[in-house]
């Protein structure tokens, strides 16, 4: 096991997949000569050449569509959208083509593209560079959505996504590229479905994904140390399809649920997980589930306002204490 930064893990996955299969290509703005905005493709242009590590013009919808068209013939494009905020421009090709082509062709065509993009609230990037779009992609039938919370997942999810015959959207976090963690030395494919128990516990389940897993873990530590509350933390690295069985299993054990998301509450992951709890294990509950979500505002520039707009471990702690009536 080597420890590495998340960006290095993503870079390693790109490198190995490019080496393994000549049909794998990488495309996006500044992924080539410049090595990628977050260094996810550093050195790969030199190693695999401009035909396979392709610097694109700033044409999100069309270079995404170009990758999708190539995938019809068996090319395996990894498309980087520089910031998830720009993925709004590519939604047409992602939602109308990639996600639907297998279905509307009656199974004749498929679009095995990987679209990866950093999003989330980072450091004062303002309203148009702070989107959290996972909820948008989760609502699209025919598209898989995964989101890593650590370098091991980032590495293994990308490798699995490249081999998967469905289109996969990988939601990374702009704040997490320097996060360090262990990644297996040997090749590792992370499942694209399911969930992981990041911490075992008995009293309450904290559901998180991507950056909010870390808030949950921090909150769990404090709740254990300061209040003697034993939290389970479930990492929902797969947002579509969501792990219904895994969600129900943990709730059946702890009987209480808190869902923590960096995004606004409406139509979000929290809403969806709550609905699943209702449908799968309502009678296991000892208390109504709770969401800890961002405020429903465009993200402001001012640092204090920005931090106030999204949850943090303190808010998770407070929500758990309220839930337990303390």
């Amino acid at each position: 096991m080597a420890e590495m930064a998340l960006w290095e893990a993503v870079r390693r996955a790109h490198d190995e997949e490019l080496a393994r299969d000549p049909m794998v290509i990488v495309m996006g703005e500044d992924v080539g000569l410049a090595g990628g905005t977050y260094k996810a493709t550093l050195g790969l242009y030199e190693k695999y050449g401009p035909e396979r590590v392709i610097d694109t013009p700033i044409s999100e919808n069309s270079f995404t569509g170009l990758g999708i068209g190539a995938s019809f013939l068996g090319v395996r494009p990894i498309i980087e959208i520089m910031s998830v905020n720009f993925a709004w421009l590519a939604l047409d090709q992602i939602a109308n083509t990639a996600a639907k082509v297998r279905y509307m062709s009656g199974g004749q065509l498929q679009a095995p593209v990987v679209i990866r993009s950093p999003g989330g609230v980072a450091h004062q990037l303002g309203a148009q560079h702070s989107a959290r779009m996972e909820k948008v992609f989760m609502g699209i039938a025919g598209l898989r959505v995964v989101t890593p919370s650590n370098p091991r997942q980032a590495y293994g999810l990308l490798k699995s996504a490249v081999r998967c015959n469905d289109p996969v959207f990988i939601n990374e976090h702009e704040y997490m590229y320097n996060l360090r963690g262990e990644v297996p030395d040997e090749e590792y494919l992370h499942p694209l479905e399911g969930s992981e128990v990041a911490r075992e516990g008995r009293d309450v389940t904290l559901f998180g994904y991507n950056i909010s897993v870390h808030w949950c873990l921090k909150a769990a530590e404090r709740l254990a140390a300061e209040h003697g509350i034993d939290c389970e933390v479930v990492d929902l690295y797969a947002l579509s399809p969501l792990d219904r069985a895994g969600i129900a299993r943990s709730v059946a054990k702890t009987h209480r649920a808190v869902i923590v998301e960096e995004a606004e509450a409406p139509c979000g992951v929290g809403a969806e997980v709550m609905a699943i709890i209702n449908e799968e294990c309502f009678y296991e509950l000892d208390a109504p589930p709770v969401r800890v979500s961002a405020r429903n505002v465009p993200i402001p520039y001012n640092r204090t306002l920005e931090r106030a707009a999204i949850p943090d471990p303190d808010e998770v702690v407070a929500a758990v204490l309220r839930l337990l009536g303390r």
């Binding site: 044409s59 069309s62 170009l66 990758g67 999708i68 083509t97 062709s105 065509l109 998967c164 499942p191």
Partner: protein, 330 residues
């Protein structure tokens, strides 16, 4: 399948007449409510797809288009019975009943589909061309779209990339002068569509889209250019649709005089008259050809669609995600 000899021309005349009669029969089936949804018909524009594809290799070259796609699918080699069955929503349809009129697919014949979002296929065609280059084949990618599609961002974004990367893709603009009810000069600053790719350094021609032989001659050069890996090429074919945009369109916005003028330039009649004048066929021969076609449509194609089974409701969720284990290997 070149359009050089008298025999070729008779075959293409028959194909174009078949296309006309097929679409007219779709119109009837729609009125009878056998066909649902949006239905966009091709009469008037037959010389476009036939002229271009005679210069290309149907079933070998990849073709992609918009929602006005029945005849493009058939010209690539898709069985007209499977097209009609698709319009009827049947399991024997070329998209198994999951696509409908605007989403015909026949990947075996390299017909890569009809897409409903105006301008959507531009980048898909470029991507297919990129894949061809990577895989070292001799195919080309051909994209047929309308004039109004050129006002989408995908047109400009894709022309730029196709030219920059010298992709083997032929863009065919079937300029029928209208995007639904808006005539081209009311929506588009530059009416001559071939001029719009100059800024992307793509060679382009403007051709009489009612004359299948003229389209063919121009397409030979275009196809040769693209097949020789010299980069993309753009053809603008001046044409006209003889019906409304779709079945729900009254067509009231078009001046009658304009319609009359174009109806005198019917691509089928132009080719027929040439063959009659050359002594290659008589009006009786033409009539016989027409009767045979009508007979085939009425007694083979429509009954096939009528009698075919519906898709099964149990299969509603099939084809949403891959049913192989490619996504579950970890």
């Amino acid at each position: 399948m070149p359009l050089e000899t008298i025999e070729d021309k008779k075959r293409v005349l028959r194909e174009m007449l078949f296309a006309r009669r097929f679409e007219e029969r779709c119109y009837e089936a729609y009125v009878e409510r056998k066909i649902g949804g949006f239905l966009h018909l091709y009469p008037g524009q037959e010389a476009c797809v036939h002229g271009v594809m005679e210069a290309a290799r149907p079933g070998f070259d990849y073709v992609i288009t918009g929602y006005r796609d029945h005849i493009h699918a058939i010209k690539c080699g898709c069985d007209p019975k499977a097209v009609m069955a698709e319009l009827y929503g049947k399991a024997t349809g070329c998209s198994r009943g999951y696509g409908g009129s605007m989403h015909l697919f026949d990947v075996e014949h390299r017909f890569m589909g009809g897409y409903a979002l105006v301008g959507g296929p531009f980048p898909l065609a470029a991507g297919i061309a990129k894949a061809i280059l990577m895989q070292g084949g001799e195919e080309i990618s051909i994209c047929f779209l309308g004039d109004a599609a050129n006002n989408q961002g995908t047109f400009h974004e894709t022309m730029n990339m196709a030219s920059l990367w010298k992709l083997p893709v032929l863009y065919v603009c079937e300029n029928n002068l209208y995007g639904i009810g808006t005539r081209i000069d009311r929506s588009t600053a530059v009416v001559d569509q071939y001029k719009r790719v100059c800024g992307y350094n793509i060679p382009a021609v403007q051709v009489d889209g009612q004359d299948v032989e003229a389209v063919y001659e121009a397409a030979k050069e275009a196809v040769a250019h693209v097949r020789a890996r010299k980069g993309p090429y753009f053809m603008e074919l001046l044409t006209y649709r003889y019906r409304g945009h779709s079945m729900s369109d009254s067509n009231a916005y078009r001046p009658k005089e304009e319609e009359r003028k174009w109806s005198r330039r019917d691509p089928i009649i132009i080719l027929r008259d040439r063959l009659v004048e050359a002594g290659a066929m008589t009006h009786d021969d033409y009539k016989r050809m027409d009767d045979e076609i009508l007979d085939e449509i009425e007694n083979e194609i429509v009954p096939f669609a009528e009698r075919s089974p519906e898709p099964r409701v149990e299969d509603l969720e099939r084809y949403v995600l891959a049913d192989d284990d490619s996504c579950r290997r970890a």
